[in-house]
């Protein structure tokens, strides 16, 4: 069985290798799925795979992040979290918390939920962070060449992936509405922007498709856009190439639809003149 799993891992890595860069550093990682929703009783599994070329030790932890008005996720220090955020950290249980994996070795992380009796209805969320611990990546710093004179510098990133783990307690509903849309010019190139507002007791999540009436091919597709309950509205800002930015100006139809995995129903649809 072990061998079979290993072969599976190898073939997965081969498939990945075709798409990604050939050189993998220690600490590179794969996480699947990319979003977890728990309804209060059943648990699930998340797969972590070491796709680096060296063995690496990964630490798995929960952290609280809050969405900003511009759609970012701010990390919140534990001393500044609200009681509801504290409840989210307490009700999500997972194992293991630390694992050392040889290259191409997947590890299943079991995620469960324990909702205490009397927990108020609502959406509770934490973000699960997977990252290689510094010991595993410290070897990279040693590659820095010693300087005979002057100052040599080795900066080592400790990098990881976070995915949201959402627990829904009670019967919750939510709606979203698309606001203004515009194209902006930034220092790093143009971006397509629009406002997205939300009402109700839970987050909204889905895909954005921007089309031009009479043109079959969508101008822009962006998947996995969320508005979390801590914000009533956010701006969605998506970097686009110059030619796409030019095409987006004028009359467009913006459709925000639910995830394809749960049917892809329309959340909101709007026609806008993009400036």
């Amino acid at each position: 069985m072990f061998r079979f799993l290993k072969a599976l891992g190898l073939s997965t890595a081969a498939a990945l290798g075709a798409a990604a860069a050939p050189a993998h550093a220690a600490g590179d990682l794969l996480v699947a799925p990319t979003r977890v929703i728990l309804d209060g009783s059943r648990g699930t599994e998340v797969v972590l795979n070491n796709i680096g070329s060296e063995p690496a030790t990964y630490r798995i932890s929960l952290e609280i992040k809050r969405m900003t008005a511009v759609g970012g996720l701010d990390e919140i220090a534990e001393e500044n979290i609200t009681p509801a955020e504290r409840a989210a950290l307490d009700m999500i249980v997972f194992s293991p918390r630390r694992v050392t994996l040889p290259p191409n070795q997947p590890q299943v992380v079991r995620v469960g939920v324990r909702v205490p009796e009397g927990t108020p209805a609502g959406e509770y969320r934490a973000h699960m962070l997977f990252r290689a611990v510094p010991d595993a990546v410290a070897t990279n710093a040693a590659e820095a060449k010693p300087a005979s004179t002057g100052v040599s510098i080795a900066l080592t990133p400790i990098y990881g992936i976070t995915i949201p783990v959402i627990v829904r307690v009670g019967d919750l509903g939510a709606e979203a509405a698309i606001g203004d849309a515009w194209v902006s010019e930034g220092a790093e190139g143009p971006a397509f922007n629009f406002d997205l507002s939300r009402t109700g007791g839970r987050s909204v999540y889905g895909d954005i498709e921007v089309t031009r009436p009479g043109v079959a091919e969508p101008l822009l597709v962006a998947r996995g856009i969320a508005v979390y309950p801590e914000v009533a509205a956010r701006t969605v800002s998506l970097r686009v190439p110059d030619d796409v930015a030019a095409k987006l100006k004028g009359p467009v139809r913006i459709r925000y639809s639910e995830d394809r995995e749960i049917g892809g129903g329309t959340i909101d649809e709007a026609e806008r003149i993009v400036k």
């Binding site: 590179d28 799925p33 680096g52 759609g71 060449k145 002057g150 100052v151 400790i158 992936i161 790093e188």
Partner: protein, 165 residues
């Protein structure tokens, strides 16, 4: 070596075939069914470290900036040698998926012979939309070098995350 690999692959295939045959054996009259769930995935791979290369400090404090494109701006009074590079990461996942990029905005570097420096960090984008072959983001920074900064090997670590929303 190749033969060994082949053997392993065959073994894997054989086990897979066995596993698929198992339900059919139990229900002789029905056709066998195989199920597989494909999970959406995200991968994060480092393709380049942020490199300030080697700096010879001067009599006055100055800065060295490496842009997210990798270009270097060596401040007045400093000598910069070697090849600089922006930090770079590849992200792969579902085509069209929007991934948020986050990380520390500064890092402290400690010298092997004492002394310290700080570097600000800048990210090429707050979010990236993955294409069919994924996407990437870069990290640049500005290093503050003190007057007559002690020589030595300076090192520091900083946090970077790719976040699904």
């Amino acid at each position: 070596m190749r033969k060994f690999g082949m053997k392993r692959a065959l073994l894997g295939a054989a086990i897979a075939a066995l596993a698929m045959n198992a339900p059919a054996a139990h229900a002789a009259t029905a056709t066998g069914t195989a199920t597989a769930k494909i999970l959406r995935q995200i991968t994060l791979t480092k393709t380049s470290d942020l490199q300030y290369a080697t700096i010879i400090s001067g009599a006055t404090a100055s800065t060295v900036a490496v842009s997210t494109a990798g270009g270097v701006t060596c401040g007045a009074g400093l000598t910069c040698t070697g090849t600089t590079a922006a930090g770079s990461f590849d992200v792969a996942g579902t085509s069209g998926a929007v991934v948020l990029v986050g990380g520390d905005s500064s890092v402290t570097l400690n010298g092997s012979l004492g002394g310290s420096m700080t570097s600000t960090l800048t990210y090429s984008a707050p979010n990236i939309t993955l294409g069919a072959t994924g996407g990437s983001f870069q990290i640049g920074g500005t290093l503050s070098v003190g007057a007559n900064q002690a020589s030595g090997d300076y090192s520091g670590t900083f946090n970077v995350t790719a976040n699904y929303q």
